[in-house]
Protein backbone atom coordinates (compact mmCIF):
# COMPACT_ATOMS: atom_id res chain seq x y z
CA UNK A 1 0.00 0.00 0.00
CA UNK A 2 1.26 3.43 -0.90
CA UNK A 3 1.62 5.79 2.03
CA UNK A 4 -0.67 8.77 2.42
CA UNK A 5 2.02 11.44 2.24
CA UNK A 6 1.38 14.98 1.08
CA UNK A 7 3.13 14.81 -2.29
CA UNK A 8 1.05 11.79 -3.21
CA UNK A 9 -2.19 13.44 -2.19
CA UNK A 10 -1.27 16.44 -4.31
CA UNK A 11 -0.70 14.21 -7.31
CA UNK A 12 -3.95 12.37 -6.70
CA UNK A 13 -5.92 15.64 -6.81
CA UNK A 14 -4.07 16.66 -9.96
CA UNK A 15 -5.20 13.42 -11.61
CA UNK A 16 -8.76 14.01 -10.43
CA UNK A 17 -8.82 17.61 -11.62
CA UNK A 18 -10.18 17.14 -15.18
CA UNK A 19 -13.02 14.91 -13.97
CA UNK A 20 -13.85 17.24 -11.09
CA UNK A 21 -13.84 20.28 -13.39
CA UNK A 22 -16.35 18.61 -15.69
CA UNK A 23 -18.53 17.48 -12.78
CA UNK A 24 -18.49 20.97 -11.27
CA UNK A 25 -19.54 22.54 -14.56
CA UNK A 26 -22.45 20.22 -15.35
CA UNK A 27 -23.33 19.02 -11.83
CA UNK A 28 -22.38 21.16 -8.87
CA UNK A 29 -22.87 24.60 -10.45
CA UNK A 30 -26.34 23.75 -11.85
CA UNK A 31 -27.42 22.40 -8.45
CA UNK A 32 -26.16 25.60 -6.80
CA UNK A 33 -28.07 27.73 -9.32
CA UNK A 34 -31.22 25.73 -8.54
CA UNK A 35 -30.75 26.36 -4.84
CA UNK A 36 -30.36 30.10 -5.44
CA UNK A 37 -33.33 30.39 -7.81
CA UNK A 38 -35.55 28.42 -5.46
CA UNK A 39 -35.61 31.42 -3.14
CA UNK A 40 -37.13 33.76 -5.75
CA UNK A 41 -40.29 34.31 -7.69
CA UNK A 42 -38.89 34.39 -11.21
CA UNK A 43 -40.87 36.28 -13.82
CA UNK A 44 -37.90 36.57 -16.12
CA UNK A 45 -34.22 35.92 -15.42
CA UNK A 46 -33.58 39.62 -14.73
CA UNK A 47 -36.96 40.20 -13.13
CA UNK A 48 -37.18 38.20 -9.92
CA UNK A 49 -38.02 38.98 -6.33
CA UNK A 50 -37.10 37.33 -3.08
CA UNK A 51 -39.64 34.97 -1.55
CA UNK A 52 -37.37 33.09 0.85
CA UNK A 53 -38.61 29.60 1.69
CA UNK A 54 -42.15 30.15 0.44
CA UNK A 55 -41.91 27.59 -2.40
CA UNK A 56 -40.49 25.00 -0.04
CA UNK A 57 -43.34 25.56 2.40
CA UNK A 58 -45.87 25.36 -0.43
CA UNK A 59 -44.49 22.07 -1.73
CA UNK A 60 -43.86 20.42 1.62
CA UNK A 61 -47.34 21.26 2.93
CA UNK A 62 -49.21 20.17 -0.22
CA UNK A 63 -51.06 16.85 -0.23
CA UNK A 64 -50.10 16.39 -3.87
CA UNK A 65 -46.40 16.14 -2.95
CA UNK A 66 -46.97 13.35 -0.43
CA UNK A 67 -49.36 11.55 -2.76
CA UNK A 68 -46.75 11.61 -5.55
CA UNK A 69 -44.04 10.55 -3.11
CA UNK A 70 -46.20 7.61 -2.07
CA UNK A 71 -46.85 6.61 -5.67
CA UNK A 72 -43.14 6.86 -6.56
CA UNK A 73 -42.15 4.77 -3.53
CA UNK A 74 -44.83 2.22 -4.41
CA UNK A 75 -43.63 2.04 -7.99
CA UNK A 76 -40.01 1.54 -6.90
CA UNK A 77 -41.02 -1.16 -4.43
CA UNK A 78 -42.99 -3.08 -7.06
CA UNK A 79 -40.25 -2.71 -9.66
CA UNK A 80 -37.62 -4.03 -7.25
CA UNK A 81 -39.85 -6.84 -6.02
CA UNK A 82 -40.30 -8.04 -9.60
CA UNK A 83 -36.91 -7.32 -11.16
CA UNK A 84 -34.54 -8.57 -8.48
CA UNK A 85 -35.84 -12.11 -8.11
CA UNK A 86 -36.29 -12.36 -11.88
CA UNK A 87 -32.87 -10.89 -12.69
CA UNK A 88 -31.16 -13.15 -10.15
CA UNK A 89 -33.02 -16.17 -11.45
CA UNK A 90 -31.91 -15.39 -15.01
CA UNK A 91 -28.29 -14.83 -13.95
CA UNK A 92 -28.15 -18.09 -11.98
CA UNK A 93 -29.60 -20.10 -14.85
CA UNK A 94 -27.62 -18.56 -17.68
CA UNK A 95 -25.10 -21.07 -19.10
CA UNK A 96 -21.60 -20.50 -17.64
CA UNK A 97 -19.88 -20.46 -21.01
CA UNK A 98 -20.34 -20.98 -24.72
CA UNK A 99 -22.43 -19.38 -27.39
CA UNK A 100 -25.62 -19.39 -25.31
CA UNK A 101 -23.99 -17.33 -22.59
CA UNK A 102 -22.91 -14.71 -25.16
CA UNK A 103 -26.32 -14.81 -26.82
CA UNK A 104 -28.08 -14.51 -23.47
CA UNK A 105 -25.99 -11.52 -22.40
CA UNK A 106 -26.53 -9.81 -25.73
CA UNK A 107 -30.26 -10.47 -25.45
CA UNK A 108 -30.37 -9.03 -21.92
CA UNK A 109 -28.52 -5.91 -23.01
CA UNK A 110 -30.73 -5.17 -26.01
CA UNK A 111 -33.51 -3.22 -24.21
CA UNK A 112 -30.85 -1.10 -22.49
CA UNK A 113 -29.82 0.55 -25.76
CA UNK A 114 -33.33 1.51 -26.84
CA UNK A 115 -33.75 5.29 -26.52
CA UNK A 116 -36.10 5.83 -23.57
CA UNK A 117 -38.53 7.93 -25.51
CA UNK A 118 -39.20 5.08 -27.97
CA UNK A 119 -40.09 2.58 -25.28
CA UNK A 120 -43.64 3.82 -24.56
CA UNK A 121 -44.67 3.96 -28.24
CA UNK A 122 -43.24 0.47 -28.79
CA UNK A 123 -45.23 -0.94 -25.87
CA UNK A 124 -48.38 1.00 -26.71
CA UNK A 125 -48.31 -0.40 -30.23
CA UNK A 126 -47.70 -3.88 -28.79
CA UNK A 127 -50.84 -3.77 -26.63
CA UNK A 128 -52.98 -2.05 -29.25
CA UNK A 129 -56.13 -4.22 -29.39
CA UNK A 130 -56.34 -4.02 -33.19
CA UNK A 131 -52.77 -4.08 -34.45
CA UNK A 132 -50.59 -5.16 -31.52
CA UNK A 133 -49.47 -8.76 -31.11
CA UNK A 134 -50.16 -8.82 -27.37
CA UNK A 135 -53.24 -6.61 -27.72
CA UNK A 136 -54.83 -8.99 -30.21
CA UNK A 137 -53.95 -11.99 -28.05
CA UNK A 138 -55.61 -10.32 -25.06
CA UNK A 139 -58.71 -9.47 -27.09
CA UNK A 140 -58.82 -13.06 -28.35
CA UNK A 141 -58.60 -14.30 -24.74
CA UNK A 142 -61.48 -12.01 -23.85
CA UNK A 143 -59.42 -9.69 -21.64
CA UNK A 144 -60.14 -6.03 -22.05
CA UNK A 145 -56.85 -4.27 -21.44
CA UNK A 146 -57.65 -0.60 -20.94
CA UNK A 147 -54.35 1.12 -20.12
CA UNK A 148 -55.81 4.53 -20.89
CA UNK A 149 -58.62 4.70 -18.34
CA UNK A 150 -58.01 1.84 -15.92
CA UNK A 151 -55.37 2.81 -13.34
CA UNK A 152 -54.51 -0.79 -12.45
CA UNK A 153 -53.90 -1.59 -16.11
CA UNK A 154 -51.71 1.50 -16.53
CA UNK A 155 -49.64 0.36 -13.55
CA UNK A 156 -49.37 -3.18 -14.93
CA UNK A 157 -48.23 -1.85 -18.30
CA UNK A 158 -45.66 0.43 -16.64
CA UNK A 159 -44.23 -2.37 -14.51
CA UNK A 160 -44.06 -4.91 -17.32
CA UNK A 161 -42.46 -2.28 -19.58
CA UNK A 162 -39.97 -1.25 -16.91
CA UNK A 163 -39.10 -4.89 -16.26
CA UNK A 164 -38.53 -5.44 -19.96
CA UNK A 165 -36.31 -2.36 -19.99
CA UNK A 166 -34.21 -3.01 -16.90
CA UNK A 167 -34.25 -6.65 -15.82
CA UNK A 168 -31.28 -7.18 -18.12
CA UNK A 169 -29.18 -4.76 -16.10
CA UNK A 170 -29.92 -6.60 -12.86
CA UNK A 171 -29.12 -9.91 -14.52
CA UNK A 172 -25.91 -8.64 -16.13
CA UNK A 173 -24.67 -7.16 -12.85
CA UNK A 174 -25.52 -10.40 -11.05
CA UNK A 175 -23.63 -12.33 -13.74
CA UNK A 176 -20.59 -10.15 -13.19
CA UNK A 177 -20.77 -10.93 -9.45
CA UNK A 178 -21.11 -14.66 -10.11
CA UNK A 179 -18.15 -14.57 -12.52
CA UNK A 180 -15.86 -13.66 -9.60
CA UNK A 181 -16.53 -16.95 -7.78
CA UNK A 182 -13.60 -19.37 -8.29
CA UNK A 183 -14.63 -22.81 -9.62
CA UNK A 184 -12.90 -24.38 -6.60
CA UNK A 185 -15.72 -23.07 -4.37
CA UNK A 186 -18.29 -25.02 -6.38
CA UNK A 187 -16.10 -28.14 -6.38
CA UNK A 188 -15.77 -27.93 -2.61
CA UNK A 189 -19.53 -27.55 -2.29
CA UNK A 190 -20.05 -30.58 -4.52
CA UNK A 191 -17.72 -32.65 -2.34
CA UNK A 192 -19.69 -31.58 0.72
CA UNK A 193 -22.86 -32.53 -1.16
CA UNK A 194 -24.32 -29.07 -0.60
CA UNK A 195 -27.82 -28.55 -1.96
CA UNK A 196 -28.57 -25.94 -4.63
CA UNK A 197 -30.15 -23.71 -1.98
CA UNK A 198 -27.08 -24.04 0.26
CA UNK A 199 -24.75 -23.19 -2.63
CA UNK A 200 -26.79 -20.08 -3.28
CA UNK A 201 -27.04 -19.09 0.37
CA UNK A 202 -23.42 -19.68 1.42
CA UNK A 203 -21.36 -19.28 -1.75
CA UNK A 204 -23.19 -17.19 -4.33
CA UNK A 205 -25.13 -14.70 -2.22
CA UNK A 206 -22.12 -13.42 -0.21
CA UNK A 207 -20.22 -12.78 -3.44
CA UNK A 208 -23.25 -11.10 -4.97
CA UNK A 209 -24.09 -8.75 -2.12
CA UNK A 210 -21.89 -5.81 -3.13
CA UNK A 211 -22.91 -5.91 -6.77
CA UNK A 212 -26.59 -6.35 -5.90
CA UNK A 213 -26.43 -3.33 -3.60
CA UNK A 214 -25.15 -1.29 -6.52
CA UNK A 215 -27.89 -2.64 -8.78
CA UNK A 216 -30.42 -1.85 -6.05
CA UNK A 217 -29.24 1.76 -5.79
CA UNK A 218 -29.34 2.30 -9.56
CA UNK A 219 -32.69 0.59 -9.96
CA UNK A 220 -34.23 2.30 -6.95
CA UNK A 221 -33.20 5.79 -8.03
CA UNK A 222 -34.14 5.33 -11.68
CA UNK A 223 -37.58 3.95 -10.88
CA UNK A 224 -38.16 6.42 -8.03
CA UNK A 225 -37.54 9.29 -10.44
CA UNK A 226 -39.07 7.69 -13.55
CA UNK A 227 -40.08 10.38 -16.02
CA UNK A 228 -39.83 9.78 -19.74
CA UNK A 229 -41.37 6.32 -19.81
CA UNK A 230 -44.20 7.10 -17.40
CA UNK A 231 -45.05 10.34 -19.18
CA UNK A 232 -45.00 8.57 -22.53
CA UNK A 233 -47.51 5.94 -21.44
CA UNK A 234 -50.28 8.00 -19.91
CA UNK A 235 -48.95 11.46 -18.95
CA UNK A 236 -49.55 10.69 -15.28
CA UNK A 237 -53.09 9.47 -15.82
CA UNK A 238 -55.71 8.23 -15.58
CA UNK A 239 -56.44 11.08 -13.18
CA UNK A 240 -53.30 11.37 -11.10
CA UNK A 241 -52.81 7.65 -10.65
CA UNK A 242 -49.36 7.58 -12.30
CA UNK A 243 -48.30 11.14 -11.42
CA UNK A 244 -44.86 10.38 -9.99
CA UNK A 245 -42.45 12.88 -8.43
CA UNK A 246 -40.60 13.68 -11.66
CA UNK A 247 -43.82 14.25 -13.56
CA UNK A 248 -44.80 16.97 -11.09
CA UNK A 249 -41.44 18.64 -11.68
CA UNK A 250 -41.84 18.34 -15.44
CA UNK A 251 -45.22 20.02 -15.10
CA UNK A 252 -43.70 22.97 -13.20
CA UNK A 253 -40.96 23.37 -15.81
CA UNK A 254 -43.40 23.22 -18.70
CA UNK A 255 -45.59 25.85 -17.02
CA UNK A 256 -42.52 28.11 -16.66
CA UNK A 257 -42.90 28.11 -12.86
CA UNK A 258 -39.14 28.44 -12.48
CA UNK A 259 -39.07 29.32 -8.77
CA UNK A 260 -41.21 26.37 -7.64
CA UNK A 261 -39.46 24.10 -10.17
CA UNK A 262 -36.10 25.06 -8.68
CA UNK A 263 -37.36 24.42 -5.12
CA UNK A 264 -38.76 21.06 -6.18
CA UNK A 265 -35.46 20.21 -7.87
CA UNK A 266 -33.58 21.01 -4.67
CA UNK A 267 -35.95 18.84 -2.63
CA UNK A 268 -35.52 15.95 -5.06
CA UNK A 269 -31.75 16.41 -5.09
CA UNK A 270 -31.68 16.28 -1.28
CA UNK A 271 -33.79 13.12 -1.36
CA UNK A 272 -31.31 11.55 -3.79
CA UNK A 273 -28.43 12.57 -1.52
CA UNK A 274 -30.12 10.97 1.47
CA UNK A 275 -30.77 7.73 -0.38
CA UNK A 276 -27.26 7.61 -1.82
CA UNK A 277 -25.84 8.25 1.65
CA UNK A 278 -27.78 5.30 3.07
CA UNK A 279 -26.59 3.01 0.30
CA UNK A 280 -23.06 4.30 0.56
CA UNK A 281 -22.94 3.49 4.28
CA UNK A 282 -24.23 0.00 3.52
CA UNK A 283 -21.62 -0.50 0.83
CA UNK A 284 -18.80 0.71 3.04
CA UNK A 285 -19.91 -1.67 5.77
CA UNK A 286 -19.98 -4.44 3.16
CA UNK A 287 -16.47 -3.52 2.04
CA UNK A 288 -15.10 -3.47 5.57
CA UNK A 289 -16.63 -6.88 6.23
CA UNK A 290 -15.04 -8.28 3.11
CA UNK A 291 -11.64 -6.81 4.00
CA UNK A 292 -11.91 -8.41 7.44
CA UNK A 293 -12.78 -11.79 5.92
CA UNK A 294 -9.63 -11.59 3.83
Amino acid sequence: MAGGNGAQAGRAWLFLLPALAVMAFVGAIPVAINAWHSLFDILALDDKFWVGTEWYRDILTSDRFYASLGRSLGFSALVIAVQFPLGLFIALNLPREGIFRSLGLVLLAVPLVVPWIMIPPIWLSLVDPETGQVGRALTWAGIEFDWKFNAVHTWILLIVMDTWHWVGMVAILACSGLATIPPAFYQAAAIDQASRVQVFRFIELPKLRAVLLMALLLRFMDSFMIYVEAFGINSGGPGLSTAFLSLDLGEDIKAFNYGPAAARSVIYFLMSLLIVYAFWRLMRAEDAEEAEAR
Binding site: F15, L16, M23, L112, L126, G132, M225, G250
Partner: protein
Protein backbone atom coordinates in the same frame (compact mmCIF):
# COMPACT_ATOMS: atom_id res chain seq x y z
CA UNK B 1 -35.56 -32.73 -17.87
CA UNK B 2 -33.71 -29.78 -16.29
CA UNK B 3 -32.06 -29.26 -19.65
CA UNK B 4 -35.45 -29.04 -21.32
CA UNK B 5 -36.62 -26.55 -18.67
CA UNK B 6 -33.54 -24.42 -19.28
CA UNK B 7 -34.14 -24.35 -23.02
CA UNK B 8 -37.77 -23.41 -22.41
CA UNK B 9 -36.69 -20.68 -20.01
CA UNK B 10 -34.19 -19.31 -22.50
CA UNK B 11 -36.84 -19.23 -25.21
CA UNK B 12 -39.31 -17.50 -22.88
CA UNK B 13 -36.71 -14.83 -22.09
CA UNK B 14 -35.95 -14.36 -25.79
CA UNK B 15 -39.65 -14.04 -26.55
CA UNK B 16 -40.22 -11.49 -23.77
CA UNK B 17 -37.32 -9.33 -24.92
CA UNK B 18 -37.76 -9.65 -28.65
CA UNK B 19 -41.56 -9.47 -28.98
CA UNK B 20 -41.89 -5.68 -28.49
CA UNK B 21 -38.95 -5.11 -30.82
CA UNK B 22 -40.31 -7.46 -33.46
CA UNK B 23 -43.53 -5.48 -33.36
CA UNK B 24 -41.58 -2.26 -33.95
CA UNK B 25 -39.49 -3.74 -36.75
CA UNK B 26 -42.54 -5.27 -38.45
CA UNK B 27 -44.47 -2.00 -38.31
CA UNK B 28 -41.49 -0.16 -39.80
CA UNK B 29 -42.00 -2.14 -43.02
CA UNK B 30 -45.74 -1.49 -43.18
CA UNK B 31 -47.49 1.42 -44.81
CA UNK B 32 -49.48 2.97 -41.97
CA UNK B 33 -50.93 6.09 -43.58
CA UNK B 34 -53.26 6.35 -46.52
CA UNK B 35 -51.29 6.82 -49.71
CA UNK B 36 -52.49 6.85 -53.29
CA UNK B 37 -50.18 4.16 -54.63
CA UNK B 38 -49.43 1.99 -51.58
CA UNK B 39 -52.42 0.32 -49.89
CA UNK B 40 -52.73 0.70 -46.12
CA UNK B 41 -51.12 -2.20 -44.27
CA UNK B 42 -49.00 -3.50 -47.14
CA UNK B 43 -45.26 -4.16 -47.12
CA UNK B 44 -43.15 -1.15 -48.04
CA UNK B 45 -39.66 0.34 -47.88
CA UNK B 46 -41.22 3.80 -47.99
CA UNK B 47 -40.84 4.48 -44.25
CA UNK B 48 -37.08 4.08 -44.47
CA UNK B 49 -36.90 6.06 -47.69
CA UNK B 50 -38.90 8.81 -45.97
CA UNK B 51 -36.50 8.93 -43.02
CA UNK B 52 -33.58 9.69 -45.31
CA UNK B 53 -35.67 11.98 -47.48
CA UNK B 54 -36.73 14.09 -44.49
CA UNK B 55 -33.78 16.33 -43.73
CA UNK B 56 -34.43 16.83 -40.01
CA UNK B 57 -34.73 13.05 -39.43
CA UNK B 58 -31.51 12.22 -41.26
CA UNK B 59 -29.74 15.15 -39.57
CA UNK B 60 -30.88 13.96 -36.15
CA UNK B 61 -29.24 10.58 -36.71
CA UNK B 62 -25.98 12.40 -37.39
CA UNK B 63 -26.37 14.78 -34.44
CA UNK B 64 -26.94 11.92 -32.02
CA UNK B 65 -23.95 10.02 -33.35
CA UNK B 66 -21.73 13.08 -32.96
CA UNK B 67 -22.64 13.91 -29.37
CA UNK B 68 -22.49 10.30 -28.22
CA UNK B 69 -19.02 9.89 -29.76
CA UNK B 70 -17.81 13.14 -28.22
CA UNK B 71 -19.27 12.14 -24.87
CA UNK B 72 -17.53 8.75 -24.88
CA UNK B 73 -14.19 10.37 -25.80
CA UNK B 74 -14.54 13.08 -23.14
CA UNK B 75 -15.62 10.69 -20.38
CA UNK B 76 -12.81 8.21 -21.01
CA UNK B 77 -10.24 11.02 -21.24
CA UNK B 78 -11.11 12.58 -17.88
CA UNK B 79 -12.04 9.33 -16.13
CA UNK B 80 -8.79 7.52 -16.91
CA UNK B 81 -6.48 9.69 -14.74
CA UNK B 82 -9.17 9.90 -12.04
CA UNK B 83 -9.59 6.12 -11.99
CA UNK B 84 -5.80 5.75 -11.80
CA UNK B 85 -5.72 8.09 -8.79
CA UNK B 86 -8.50 6.16 -7.02
CA UNK B 87 -6.79 2.86 -7.70
CA UNK B 88 -3.18 3.73 -6.88
CA UNK B 89 -3.13 6.63 -4.43
CA UNK B 90 -4.39 6.80 -0.89
CA UNK B 91 -5.50 10.33 -0.14
CA UNK B 92 -7.69 12.20 2.27
CA UNK B 93 -11.06 13.02 0.70
CA UNK B 94 -11.13 10.01 -1.64
CA UNK B 95 -14.31 8.73 0.00
CA UNK B 96 -15.98 12.14 -0.17
CA UNK B 97 -15.22 12.47 -3.88
CA UNK B 98 -16.50 8.98 -4.52
CA UNK B 99 -19.70 9.78 -2.64
CA UNK B 100 -20.21 12.99 -4.63
CA UNK B 101 -19.73 11.09 -7.90
CA UNK B 102 -22.29 8.52 -6.81
CA UNK B 103 -24.75 11.29 -5.88
CA UNK B 104 -24.47 13.06 -9.24
CA UNK B 105 -24.73 9.76 -11.09
CA UNK B 106 -28.20 9.14 -9.69
CA UNK B 107 -29.47 12.72 -9.72
CA UNK B 108 -32.43 12.71 -12.12
CA UNK B 109 -31.76 14.65 -15.32
CA UNK B 110 -35.07 16.51 -14.94
CA UNK B 111 -33.62 18.11 -11.81
CA UNK B 112 -30.57 19.37 -13.73
CA UNK B 113 -32.15 20.26 -17.05
CA UNK B 114 -33.17 23.84 -16.27
CA UNK B 115 -29.98 25.14 -14.60
CA UNK B 116 -27.75 23.33 -17.11
CA UNK B 117 -29.73 25.12 -19.79
CA UNK B 118 -29.10 28.47 -18.07
CA UNK B 119 -25.36 27.81 -17.67
CA UNK B 120 -25.00 26.67 -21.27
CA UNK B 121 -26.95 29.68 -22.55
CA UNK B 122 -24.39 31.88 -20.80
CA UNK B 123 -21.37 30.18 -22.41
CA UNK B 124 -22.91 29.58 -25.83
CA UNK B 125 -23.20 25.80 -25.63
CA UNK B 126 -26.85 25.49 -26.67
CA UNK B 127 -27.99 23.93 -29.94
CA UNK B 128 -24.73 22.10 -30.49
CA UNK B 129 -23.78 18.44 -30.05
CA UNK B 130 -20.78 19.61 -27.98
CA UNK B 131 -23.16 20.90 -25.29
CA UNK B 132 -25.15 17.67 -25.12
CA UNK B 133 -21.92 15.66 -24.97
CA UNK B 134 -20.75 17.78 -22.05
CA UNK B 135 -24.09 17.64 -20.21
CA UNK B 136 -24.20 13.84 -20.45
CA UNK B 137 -20.84 13.70 -18.70
CA UNK B 138 -22.68 14.30 -15.41
CA UNK B 139 -23.87 10.69 -15.30
CA UNK B 140 -21.21 9.08 -17.51
CA UNK B 141 -17.99 10.32 -15.88
CA UNK B 142 -18.84 8.56 -12.58
CA UNK B 143 -19.71 5.33 -14.44
CA UNK B 144 -16.48 5.48 -16.46
CA UNK B 145 -14.43 6.08 -13.30
CA UNK B 146 -15.94 3.06 -11.51
CA UNK B 147 -15.43 0.71 -14.40
CA UNK B 148 -11.89 1.84 -15.18
CA UNK B 149 -10.94 1.81 -11.50
CA UNK B 150 -11.96 -1.83 -11.15
CA UNK B 151 -9.94 -2.79 -14.22
CA UNK B 152 -6.88 -0.80 -13.13
CA UNK B 153 -7.04 -2.33 -9.66
CA UNK B 154 -6.90 -5.77 -11.27
CA UNK B 155 -3.48 -4.88 -12.72
CA UNK B 156 -0.78 -5.71 -10.17
CA UNK B 157 1.12 -2.71 -8.82
CA UNK B 158 4.42 -4.33 -9.81
CA UNK B 159 3.44 -3.66 -13.41
CA UNK B 160 3.55 0.11 -12.72
CA UNK B 161 6.84 -0.11 -10.87
CA UNK B 162 8.60 -2.05 -13.64
CA UNK B 163 7.51 0.59 -16.14
CA UNK B 164 8.73 3.41 -13.89
CA UNK B 165 12.12 1.69 -13.62
CA UNK B 166 12.20 1.53 -17.42
CA UNK B 167 12.03 5.31 -17.34
CA UNK B 168 8.34 5.91 -18.00
CA UNK B 169 6.75 8.98 -16.44
CA UNK B 170 3.27 8.47 -14.97
CA UNK B 171 1.65 10.04 -18.02
CA UNK B 172 3.60 7.97 -20.49
CA UNK B 173 3.02 4.85 -18.39
CA UNK B 174 -0.76 5.40 -18.43
CA UNK B 175 -0.88 5.99 -22.17
CA UNK B 176 1.68 3.44 -23.40
CA UNK B 177 1.44 0.61 -20.84
CA UNK B 178 -1.76 0.88 -18.82
CA UNK B 179 -4.17 1.62 -21.67
CA UNK B 180 -3.21 -1.52 -23.64
CA UNK B 181 -3.35 -3.59 -20.44
CA UNK B 182 -6.89 -2.48 -19.62
CA UNK B 183 -8.20 -2.30 -23.20
CA UNK B 184 -11.24 -4.50 -22.35
CA UNK B 185 -12.06 -2.12 -19.49
CA UNK B 186 -11.91 0.87 -21.81
CA UNK B 187 -14.21 -0.98 -24.19
CA UNK B 188 -16.64 -1.72 -21.37
CA UNK B 189 -16.59 1.86 -20.09
CA UNK B 190 -17.12 3.13 -23.63
CA UNK B 191 -20.07 0.80 -24.01
CA UNK B 192 -21.80 2.02 -20.85
CA UNK B 193 -21.12 5.70 -21.68
CA UNK B 194 -22.42 5.14 -25.17
CA UNK B 195 -25.53 3.43 -23.89
CA UNK B 196 -26.51 6.01 -21.26
CA UNK B 197 -25.85 8.91 -23.64
CA UNK B 198 -27.68 7.32 -26.57
CA UNK B 199 -30.88 6.66 -24.62
CA UNK B 200 -31.06 9.93 -22.66
CA UNK B 201 -33.86 12.29 -23.60
CA UNK B 202 -34.44 15.15 -21.19
CA UNK B 203 -31.07 16.93 -21.36
CA UNK B 204 -30.60 16.26 -25.06
CA UNK B 205 -34.01 17.75 -25.76
CA UNK B 206 -33.69 20.75 -23.43
CA UNK B 207 -30.32 21.81 -24.78
CA UNK B 208 -31.24 21.75 -28.46
CA UNK B 209 -34.02 24.21 -29.21
CA UNK B 210 -33.27 25.39 -32.71
CA UNK B 211 -30.44 23.23 -33.95
CA UNK B 212 -28.44 20.07 -33.34
CA UNK B 213 -31.56 18.09 -32.40
CA UNK B 214 -31.12 14.44 -31.41
CA UNK B 215 -33.05 11.41 -32.70
CA UNK B 216 -35.31 11.45 -29.69
CA UNK B 217 -36.60 14.96 -30.45
CA UNK B 218 -37.00 14.10 -34.11
CA UNK B 219 -39.12 11.09 -33.22
CA UNK B 220 -41.25 13.10 -30.85
CA UNK B 221 -41.94 15.65 -33.55
CA UNK B 222 -43.49 12.85 -35.61
CA UNK B 223 -46.33 12.42 -33.16
CA UNK B 224 -49.26 14.60 -34.04
CA UNK B 225 -52.85 14.59 -35.17
CA UNK B 226 -52.29 11.76 -37.65
CA UNK B 227 -49.11 9.97 -36.63
CA UNK B 228 -47.36 7.92 -39.29
CA UNK B 229 -46.53 5.11 -36.87
CA UNK B 230 -44.65 3.23 -39.62
CA UNK B 231 -42.27 6.16 -39.97
CA UNK B 232 -41.87 6.33 -36.17
CA UNK B 233 -40.99 2.65 -36.06
CA UNK B 234 -38.56 2.95 -38.99
CA UNK B 235 -36.79 5.70 -37.06
CA UNK B 236 -36.89 3.56 -33.89
CA UNK B 237 -35.45 0.57 -35.73
CA UNK B 238 -32.63 2.69 -37.14
CA UNK B 239 -31.92 4.06 -33.65
CA UNK B 240 -31.36 0.50 -32.40
CA UNK B 241 -28.63 -0.40 -34.88
CA UNK B 242 -25.63 1.41 -33.29
CA UNK B 243 -26.57 0.04 -29.86
CA UNK B 244 -26.82 -3.51 -31.16
CA UNK B 245 -23.46 -3.16 -32.92
CA UNK B 246 -21.87 -1.92 -29.67
CA UNK B 247 -23.36 -4.81 -27.69
CA UNK B 248 -21.98 -7.33 -30.15
CA UNK B 249 -18.51 -5.76 -29.97
CA UNK B 250 -18.30 -5.91 -26.17
CA UNK B 251 -20.45 -9.02 -25.57
CA UNK B 252 -17.64 -10.88 -23.83
CA UNK B 253 -16.87 -8.00 -21.50
CA UNK B 254 -20.19 -6.53 -20.43
CA UNK B 255 -20.72 -8.94 -17.59
CA UNK B 256 -17.24 -8.22 -16.25
CA UNK B 257 -17.59 -4.47 -16.25
CA UNK B 258 -18.73 -3.92 -12.72
CA UNK B 259 -16.68 -5.07 -9.81
CA UNK B 260 -17.67 -2.34 -7.47
CA UNK B 261 -15.43 -1.07 -4.74
CA UNK B 262 -16.07 1.85 -2.48
Amino acid sequence: MTRLLKVAGFLALALFILLPLSQAVTLSFVSTVTREDVPLGSFTWLNYANVFRTERLAASLINSTIYVTLNVALCIAVALPAAYAFSRFRFRGAHAVFFALLAFRVTPTVVLSLPVFLVFARVDLLNTPVGVALAHAVFNVPIAIWILESFISAVPRAYDETAFMDGHSTGSFILRRLVPAIAPGIGTAAFFCFMFSWVEVVLARTLTITDGKPITTAIQSLFGFSTDIGLVMAMTTLSLIPGLAMIWLVRNHISRGFTIRV
